[in-house]
């Protein structure tokens, strides 16, 4: 608008800034888990992910060796060593001996403790504790220090999550659910949509009205009766009630009204002449459908496929009701939900798992965005 009316520089600048702010708000959250999933797991809890390129500092606590380690030097009793022992070295910036003031002294300085006791701690972790009197007791002096480690990026989290947390397995389960649950409704809906658009039979208008009504029926209405039905069928035939076939059909059922609605409005708009001339040439409806309607409907079929794929892949409710939670059936969303409970504070596991669950939808979305948007427009501008 600014370019059209107020041609002021400020106005145009304002639009750019405003859009930039919106884009930032809408992308930074996702960026946060992507960056975190690639960080070292100790660093994730030590500093915010936005600081991940800076050295991360963290407060640590340790205990110096006890009296048995003391030596006599220049008439003083001294305990020497390195706080990190043989472990990985970090850089110490400050230290202290009270938990209320963990960074009271700068690294390298000499801290005066009571009774002439002094403690010096260097940046590399080396320390000298000296006292005019002999140390007593096995429990050494408690020390606190702030250490910093250089930024560290790793794919360890992905290894851990994919192979030992069961996310890899769930990824396969999600694909097993999603692919047939996308293709089956397309086939069924395409045939029905063609019949509803181009074939004459009694009850057709009623059927169309029913389908439009079913578009908005909440999923919740179906859950309990279907759960009972599945349990009943399972018990009757002595088969498990939670099966892949069961969830494919459930997703097919829930996706069909939208599929038929979307496909019918497109197929009904195909030119009549093509069908008529094919019919005159002796083609049956089946041949017309397979050879003419299906190829011509490719864009709308792609739109629906993307919708249904994203819907099924991202679904949690249907999967939790109709599919088990054993490793051979649990899908990614349900697995992620379970991890939220069992691995609550472990952000290296949660962020990595979350990123794995969204990577497929993001890929589908970016490569096929054109079709997705087209489906969205056709589906909702007309009143879905």
């Amino acid at each position: 608008m600014a370019t059209k009316t107020g041609k002021s520089f400020v106005g145009r600048f304002g639009v750019h800034i405003a859009v930039l702010v919106f884009v930032a708000i809408w992308t930074i959250p996702t960026l946060g888990i992507l960056v975190s999933s690639l960080r070292d797991k100790d660093q994730i809890v030590a500093s915010g992910w936005w600081n991940s390129f800076a050295s991360s500092s963290q407060s640590e606590a340790g205990r110096l060796p006890g009296a048995s380690a003391q030596t006599q030097k220049d008439g003083k009793y001294v305990i020497e060593g390195n706080i990190f022992g043989d472990g990985p070295k970090r850089e110490i910036s400050a230290f202290g001996v009270k938990s209320s003031a963990p960074t009271q002294y700068k690294a390298g300085s000499v801290a005066d403790l009571d009774d002439g006791v002094t403690l010096q701690m260097n940046a590399d972790g080396g320390f000298v504790l000296s006292s005019p009197k002999a140390f007593e007791g096995d429990r050494g002096q408690r020390v606190y220090f702030a250490s910093s480690a250089p930024p560290k990026f790793t794919t360890d989290n992905y290894d851990a999550v994919l192979f030992s947390e069961g996310i890899g397995r769930s990824f396969m389960n999600s694909l097993t659910v999603t692919i047939p649950a996308t293709i089956i409704p397309i086939l069924i809906a395409a045939f029905a949509a063609y019949a509803l658009a181009w074939m004459r039979f009694p009850g057709r208008p009623l059927l169309i009205a029913v389908i439009i009504g079913l578009l908005v029926v909440p999923l919740q209405m179906s859950l309990i009766p279907l759960l009972r039905l599945y349990n009943g069928v399972g018990a009757f035939f002595g088969v498990p009630s939670k099966t892949y076939l069961g969830i494919w059909l459930a997703h097919t059922g829930f996706g069909l009204p939208f599929a038929i609605y979307l496909l019918r409005s497109y197929i009904a708009g195909l030119p009549r002449e093509i069908m008529e001339s094919a019919r005159i040439d002796g083609a049956s409806d089946f041949e017309i459908f397979v050879k003419i309607v299906l190829p011509l409907s490719f864009p709308v079929l792609a739109s629906f496929a993307i919708f249904q794929f994203l819907w099924v892949w991202n679904d949690l409710l249907v999967a939790m009701v109709f599919l088990g939670t054993a490793p051979d059936q649990i899908v990614l969303t349900a697995k992620l939900n379970a991890l939220l409970g069992s691995r609550g504070g472990k952000w290296e596991i949660l962020t990595t798992s979350a990123f794995i669950t969204i990577i497929v939808p993001l890929f589908v979305f970016f490569s096929l965005q054109r079709y997705f948007v087209r489906g969205l427009l056709a589906g909702s501008v007309k009143g879905g």
């Binding site: 009316t5 859009v19 969205l376």
Partner: protein, 337 residues
């Protein structure tokens, strides 16, 4: 892993292949039973007519059967079950509805659902509209729209993890790894446990859905805005309208129908909101909503199907006006021909 991949491919082929086999086989069978080729003239015409009577049902048959089993029967059965006890065997009349009226959790859920309904559709539509208008004016608008649209592809559970990380809380004075508390602490504020903050925690959950759905509103409204004739806008400019007047008095009224559609679509979604509440709080700290409460009743202590069904009916009642409106709109559209 290899066995899993193999069995997955196997079941996929069986599932999809079975479906293809039905349509192909059924039509082949029809051609065999009533042959139209290779028979005498009148018989061929008769058979063609018979084929014409049967074939539509072959085409819509599977869809009708699945719709009947998965949507129509359950709607009736849910209504029926709402008059029965927890196991679904003993008729209890209106007892479940009496419980519904007096139950504290349920009342709380309805209140929260109303809160969601009041905030989320409005926020999504408003933000979507603003972003659609703004991005239309700049050269990198398409990229910006793509990025804002992106959360729509993310699952509610994934989005919940993303935002839980943003709301992460550490005690005061500690290093905050949650972005929101880090910002608050940077400006000298007190870090908060956002998802258990009384009343306001609902809004922190709503932000997640708004974040996801604004892209949807933006795309639809953006295409509607492009449908506004250029002359209308030019005329307004010539008459000296300022950008705000153009927005409120020209653009918004022109796309009013689309705004209504976006609003109702998000409204239906909000009524069914489940995943976000389940993963963020599971209804604790007074954030319960109907869909999550229903899920809870379905499985709590072996499940109470009667009460679960009653909650489903409450959600359905809220949707019915939109359903009626939809069917009327569709009839108006197809009524012309």
């Amino acid at each position: 892993m290899a066995a899993q991949i193999f069995s997955a491919i196997f079941v996929i082929i069986i599932g999809v292949g079975g479906c293809v086999a039905y349509f192909w086989g059924a039509n082949k069978l029809l051609d065999l039973v009533f042959p139209s080729r290779g028979v005498s003239g009148t018989a061929a015409v008769d058979n063609l007519r018979r084929q014409g009577m049967v074939r539509p049902w072959l085409f819509v048959g599977p869809a009708m059967i699945i719709l009947a089993i998965y949507l129509i029967y359950p709607v009736i059965a849910t209504l029926w079950l709402s008059f029965f006890d927890r196991g679904g065997t003993n008729f209890v009349g209106l007892a479940n509805y009496e419980w519904a009226v007096s139950d504290h959790d349920l009342r709380n859920s309805i209140f929260n659902n109303i809160l969601w309904l009041a905030v989320v559709p409005a926020a999504c539509t408003f933000l979507g509209l603003i972003i659609a208008v703004l991005t239309d004016k700049i050269w990198w608008g398409t990229i910006a729209k793509s990025l804002i649209f992106l959360p729509l592809a993310i699952s509610f559970v994934g989005a919940s993890v993303i935002w839980k990380f943003i709301y992460e809380y550490r005690g005061e004075g500690q290093v905050q790894i949650g972005l929101l508390n880090a910002i608050i602490q940077y400006f000298g504020g007190q870090p908060q446990v956002w998802i258990s903050l009384p009343f306001w925690n609902n809004f922190f959950l709503m932000i997640i859905l708004i974040w996801i759905q604004t892209g949807f509103a933006m795309v639809i409204l953006s295409s509607a805005l492009r449908g506004i004739p250029e002359e209308t806008l030019e005329a307004a400019v010539i008459d000296g309208a300022n950008p705000f007047q153009i927005f409120w008095k020209i653009m918004v009224p022109q796309i009013w129908g689309t705004i209504a559609v976006v609003w109702t679509t998000i409204t239906i979604l909000v009524l069914k909101v489940f995943d976000i509440v389940l993963t963020m709080t599971n209804g604790q700290w007074n954030t319960q909503v109907l869909a999550n409460l229903m899920f809870d009743w379905m499985f709590r202590g072996g499940g109470d199907f009667g009460r679960g069904a009653t909650i489903a009916i409450i959600i359905m009642i809220a949707v019915i006006p939109i359903m009626v409106w939809n069917i009327r709109q569709a009839n108006k559209e197809t009524g012309g021909h």
